[in-house]
């Protein structure tokens, strides 16, 4: 109970701290993905005229893009912040009885806020357009859980490794650019020649993005993908937590 209070306090501050003194405040959480959507929709939808299968309007392309970006941005939040989170909260970690295992939860918590805001926005837009699938509301939470589990695995692993390997922090932004481009997020998979499709089958991010789209845009639950990704998520989370616990006592020496 007290732990939960502590986590809540930490999360609240974490979000507040980032947007303290800005004009938009917490709305930056929304402004950022919206801006990204605007740029991608313009460049890929209007300028490059990318289209999905038979559909021809650029509005549905934007919606499709937004679904993919929502999950990507949430993961990006975790990937960028996790390697530095222990160093960021060094003072608290070394000078108070704060359980270190709470810290990697912070970027995951922020990503959760981010994702819920953008997915909420997306569903609202779909309803306004009359393209809403009522099942999405029930099918989405399991997918969110899957994404959170994957994020936790990444957060715990990267947080503790980031203490020893300072380069990780610098590596994340370029890595994200690569991930964005090797996954069908800003372009549809069909736009890619057939021989590269095998790669997408092995790319968990591609699978996750496609699962999100299936649920949010088509109201279909991709059971097979979900099962495989869930196994992957649980396995890697187990490993990451183990790694975190084993390495944390050492991390104190070099923090």
């Amino acid at each position: 109970m007290a732990r939960l209070t502590l986590l809540w306090q930490l999360l609240r501050r974490d979000v507040q701290e980032r947007y303290a003194g800005t004009v938009l405040g917490v709305f930056w959480l929304l402004a950022q993905p919206l801006f990204m959507l605007l740029v991608y929709a313009l460049v890929f939808g209007e300028v490059l005229q990318l289209r999905l299968g038979t559909q021809t309007d650029s509005a549905s392309f934007a919606v499709w893009l937004f679904a993919g970006l929502s999950v990507f941005n949430a993961l990006a939040e975790v990937l960028v912040r996790a390697p530095a989170i222990l160093a960021e909260r060094r003072d608290l970690l070394l000078n108070s009885p704060l359980p270190p295992a709470l810290l990697p939860l912070l970027p995951v918590g922020a990503s959760l806020v981010l994702e819920l805001l953008s997915v909420g926005l997306l569903l609202l837009w779909l309803c306004v357009q009359g393209q809403c699938h009522w099942q999405s509301v029930f099918l989405y939470p399991p997918l969110l859980l899957l994404r959170v589990l994957l994020s936790l695995a990444l957060a715990y692993g990267l947080a503790v490794l980031g203490v020893f390997l300072r380069d990780l922090r610098q590596m994340m932004p370029p890595l994200l650019s690569v991930l964005l481009l090797v996954s069908p997020i800003v372009y549809p998979q069909q736009a890619v020649p057939e021989k590269f499709h095998a790669w997408f089958a092995w790319n968990p991010l591609a699978q996750l993005v496609q699962a999100y789209r299936a649920v949010l845009l088509d109201g279909v639950f991709p059971w097979e993908t979900f099962a495989v990704l869930l196994m992957l998520a649980l396995l890697s989370l187990g490993l990451a937590v183990l790694l975190f616990q084993r390495l944390m006592p050492r991390a104190r020496y070099v923090l």
């Binding site: 809540w8 501050r13 070394l94 490794l161 390997l165 300072r166 020496y253």
Partner: protein, 407 residues
């Protein structure tokens, strides 16, 4: 055991590993090959503190005091041995650590309470008390980065002490606060103690340690040099510090008149004897002097005695010349005198004597012994006062003027 132990340390130690580069710590783990050098901040500390008891920590800078406090506060796990603390602990450690400077005092208080294990409801209940105790006024809504160090102490102490901890740990940071707040916080500490909680207190203000604590531990280079009754440990530490100051004083060339070596007229000190070498304050004290008078007349030989504390302070000095007393002839060229203090007013410390044989002008020195007859004084407790000597005193009722009452 009938009494509950609140703090138990068994051969507890803290070693920091120092690495050339952070990645070495990871490589070491992967390759199982040591790549670090050890720094022992604390070694082999064993002590028990019963619930409701108080432990003071004294020692020089870098002796391991802060490390010990951090370990007791639960911020740092011991790398060897055992460290057990029962109950809710609350710590005021190094200044401002654990505070987030961008946030207001109130936000930090909320966080501090959460870190000390309070749940949401309790925080809402305790927060007004914390803010009231800190007395920071409007500043409580300002970011902590705008605080003075005294204000930071007010805030952190309030957070630590307003919740009722089972174990309260207070670092010397407290001394940064102003006199008003220091008194307020010491009162609060005493209140917590009398409520049955355990106190661990570390301060360079040895008087406060003696006042607040029943037990004390003296740390030196990460090890326990002495553990026991606070009065005894603090006295021993103080003696040691004074002793070291004296060494420094010596090398700086403390000036004392050197006797005219030539033993003019064959006058020399034969013996200086003290009736004891450990005294209690108010115990009888006497020094017996024997000297050979050579060819000088008795009236031209006088003895002087100086009591010096080991930090080189002259406590008192007097001579037979100034008191107008003659030395006593014992025959065969030997003269003697006995200097007696019925109730020695000196307070605890280490002292020594200086003995001089001077002529009747008081200028010429026949012979002298410096820093001889080392002795130690112990006092029964703080009730005999603090400082160097017990001074005769009394406390009187204040006369209240009639017209003052009427007004």
């Amino acid at each position: 055991m009938s009494v509950e132990i609140a703090i138990r340390l068994e051969q507890a130690g803290v070693a920091y590993r120092q690495y050339q580069h952070p990645r070495d710590a990871l490589l070491e783990w992967l390759l199982r090959k040591p790549r670090h050098t050890h720094f022992h901040a604390l070694q082999d500390v064993s002590l028990d503190v019963r619930a409701g008891d108080s432990l003071g920590i004294v020692g020089d800078n870098g002796a391991g005091k802060s490390t010990l406090l951090k370990m007791l506060a639960g911020n740092l796990p011991p790398s060897t041995g055992l460290c057990e603390v029962r109950g809710r602990r609350s710590a005021l450690l190094e200044l401002g650590s654990g505070l987030q400077s961008e946030f207001s005092g109130e936000e930090n208080a909320r966080m501090g309470l959460a870190l000390r294990g309070l749940a949401h409801g309790e925080i809402a209940q305790k927060l007004p008390q914390v803010l009231a105790f800190a007395e920071l006024g409007e500043f409580i809504h300002q970011p902590v980065k705008n605080y003075s160090s005294g204000m930071v102490v007010r805030l952190v102490f309030s957070i630590s002490a307003v919740i009722e901890p089972d174990v309260l740990i207070v670092d010397e940071a407290l001394s940064v606060g102003d006199q008003y707040f220091q008194k307020k916080s010491l009162d609060r500490m005493r209140e917590i103690l009398s409520g049955g909680a355990t106190l661990v207190f570390c301060s360079h203000n040895l008087y406060q340690v003696r006042e607040m604590c029943r037990q004390a531990v003296w740390l030196e280079r990460g090890r326990v040099r002495m553990l026991g009754d606070a009065q005894v440990v603090v006295d021993a530490y103080q003696d040691d510090v004074r002793g070291r100051n004296r060494e420094e004083g010596k090398s700086a060339g403390a000036s004392c008149p050197s006797p005219d070596k030539g033993r003019l007229g064959g006058v020399s000190l034969l013996s200086v004897t003290l009736n004891n070498n450990i005294f209690q304050t108010h115990a009888p004290f006497s020094v017996t002097l024997h000297a050979s008078c050579g060819d000088r007349p008795l009236s031209d030989i006088h003895a002087g005695i100086v009591i010096r504390r080991n930090d080189n302070i002259q406590c008192y000095g007097i001579s037979t010349l100034h008191d107008g007393v003659a030395m006593q002839p014992l025959g065969e060229g030997v003269i003697a005198t006995k200097f007696t203090i019925d109730r020695l007013p000196l307070l605890s410390g280490e002292y020594c004597l200086e003995v001089w044989l001077i002529d009747s002008s008081g200028v010429h020195v026949y012979d002298s012994r410096e820093r001889c007859c080392h002795f130690r004084v112990q006092q029964a407790g703080q009730q005999q006062g603090i400082g160097m000597v017990w001074l005769p005193h009394r406390w009187e009722t204040v006369e209240v003027a009639e017209d003052a009452l009427a007004a």
